[in-house]
């Protein structure tokens, strides 16, 4: 059932460590825990003129979380804030079955409900960061 969960695409995406690291002077930072396994991601955003000019994440997590964090960096970095706001809902819809090219390599996760939180965690951190940004006005 989860046979393809560790296929080469996911492993490669995790190993790419796209966006791994910290920013020197982030506009906003959010930290998000998966309390059940102790995984933790810290997301730094640099925001300028309504766009995410830079993004970095420090991720302690399983391969799925790492792959997902790499995807996060790919899709959010350089894009505008409005689009980034959609990503949390998009990954959620994706794991529940909605087609979405951007997350295609994560398709095997759909069958492993216990791992859904692993792939949504980075996007939750992004959402938290953006919510924080908005609160500051």
């Amino acid at each position: 059932m989860n046979d393809a969960l560790y296929d080469q695409a996911i492993i490669a995406e995790a190993r790419s460590k796209t966006g791994a690291g910290r920013l020197d002077a982030p506009t906003v930072t959010a930290e998000c825990d998966n309390p059940l396994c102790g995984d933790r991601i810290t997301v730094d955003l640099a925001v300028q003129d309504g766009a995410i000019s830079d993004l970095a994440h420090k991720t302690r997590g399983c391969l799925l979380t790492q792959a997902s964090a790499s995807l996060l960096a790919r899709y959010a970095k350089g894009g505008d804030v409005a689009a980034a706001r959609e990503l949390r809902a998009a990954i959620d819809a994706f794991v529940k079955g909605q087609d979405d090219e951007r997350f295609a390599i994560l398709t095997p996760v759909r069958n492993a409900k216990s791992r859904w939180d692993c792939v949504t965690l980075p996007f939750q951190a992004l959402a938290d960061a953006l919510a924080d940004l908005e609160k500051r006005g």
Partner: protein, 401 residues
């Protein structure tokens, strides 16, 4: 024979008639529930939450689906408002815990003389902890809440906790009237649904209650499982009740932080098999035609009430009409002890009844008796059960009275 019996393993192979009329104590389990339980134990047995292997994944999905089934059965807005408990009693204790911090010394919890002990003692314990007290809605001669008296009872009432249907007289509570009272007074409304849940799906939003509890074993599920539904903001407003695994966020020796509802109130490994089986039982219930089953129940109840009324020396406790009631009927035979009635009806007539105070001592006192005989109906009962009861009572009367 009532064809619905095919859904109940109790009727599969019998060497003697099973006129089971003790459904208010516990119903028989329906086949989908027993099958779901055996399937879990055989094919999926593993702990839920965070097992990543496929067996655990199947168990977790089945457990989550059971929560959704309970949500649908109650028409609750969200699965996060469904707390699995070991039964109505733990549900009501949890409800009392959740609400007790709202009580100040001198405040009042409004209960009724109809209540089952499980909807009295938890409130007594909470009241004692907070310096509050209980006040009881009186009961009419017809065995119903005397809601005419409600307004004179309003002073300092912060919580109203009453049964949705009586396990002794079968009276169904006029919840709308209580809802209006709570709107006027600001009190919170807790319903004990232990009896009502056996008579088809519910709508807690339409009822307008704040917390609702029931047991699986009375509505065709297994023993050891129940549901407490609560409005999310209420569930989220209280500290944990039981402590342990699964209900925490972060634990150190000195202190802990806790998970959001419903997990905050589900400490430790839950009754997994029980929840999955209850989900199957509720799905079975939701698939039934309750218009037809309700009509069948009223017809049988009417036949029973008429028969009892024409039995010399038989006193019926509560209403003798068939409206606004469930098929639960209490009575006494003059000069024959309730347990003698029950024993003889079983041994000589294959009819199973309950005798006693039915965990409702204040109501027994209200009726100035100590024990009644109770017959209670489920969808698998039929005319033959009622006839066996009435013929049996006639025979007992002749033998003992």
């Amino acid at each position: 024979m009532n064809p619905i019996r095919q859904d109940f393993p109790a009727f599969d192979r019998l060497d003697r008639p099973l006129h089971f009329l003790d459904n208010a104590a516990t119903s028989q389990i329906c086949r989908p529930a027993l099958e779901a339980l055996v399937r879990f134990e055989t094919d999926d047995r593993s702990n839920v939450k965070r097992g990543v292997y496929a067996r655990a994944e199947r168990a977790s999905v089945a457990f989550d689906d059971a929560r959704k089934a309970a949500m649908e059965f109650l028409n609750a807005p969200s699965p996060e408002e469904i707390v699995f408990t070991s039964g109505a009693t733990l549900g009501l204790n949890t409800a009392a815990h959740i609400l007790q911090d709202r009580l100040k010394p001198g405040d009042v919890i409004l209960v009724s003389l109809l209540e089952h002990h499980s909807n009295l003692v938890p409130w007594q314990l909470a009241a004692e902890r907070r310096g509050a007290s209980l006040r009881a809605i009186p009961v009419t001669d017809g065995g119903r809440l005397d809601l005419e008296r409600l307004d004179e009872l309003a002073d300092r009432v912060k919580i109203v906790a009453v049964t949705h249907a009586s396990n002794v007289t079968g009276a169904i509570t006029d919840v709308a009237r209580l809802r209006a009272f709570c709107d006027a007074t600001g009190a919170l409304l807790v319903l004990d649904g232990a009896q009502r849940a056996a008579h088809g799906p519910l709508d807690v939003q339409a009822l307008g209650c704040d917390l609702y509890a029931f047991s699986g074993h009375k509505c065709f599920g297994p023993t050891g499982i129940g549901v407490l539904w609560g409005r999310y903001d209420l569930l989220d407003s209280a500290p944990p009740f039981l402590g342990g695994g699964e209900m925490i966020r972060r634990v150190s020796i000195e202190r802990s932080t806790f998970a959001p509802p419903p997990h905050r109130y589900e400490a430790g490994t839950p009754p997994i098999g029980g929840a999955i089986a209850l989900g199957a039982a509720l799905a079975w219930s939701m698939a039934q035609d309750w218009d037809r089953l309700g009509a069948q129940e009223r017809e049988l109840a009417g036949r029973m009430l008429d028969g009892l009324a024409s039995l010399p020396g038989c006193r019926i406790y509560g209403d003798t009409g068939t409206q606004q009631r469930i098929g639960v009927v209490s009575f006494e035979l003059e000069d024959v002890h309730a347990h003698d009635v029950c024993q003889l009806l079983d041994s000589d007539h294959g009819v199973m009844l309950r005798g006693g105070h039915h965990c409702a001592q204040p109501l027994m006192e209200r009726f100035d008796t100590v024990a009644t005989v109770r017959a209670s109906l489920a969808p698998y009962n039929d005319g033959a059960d009622v006839d066996a009861l009435l013929n049996g009572l006639e025979a007992v009367r002749r033998k003992l009275a």
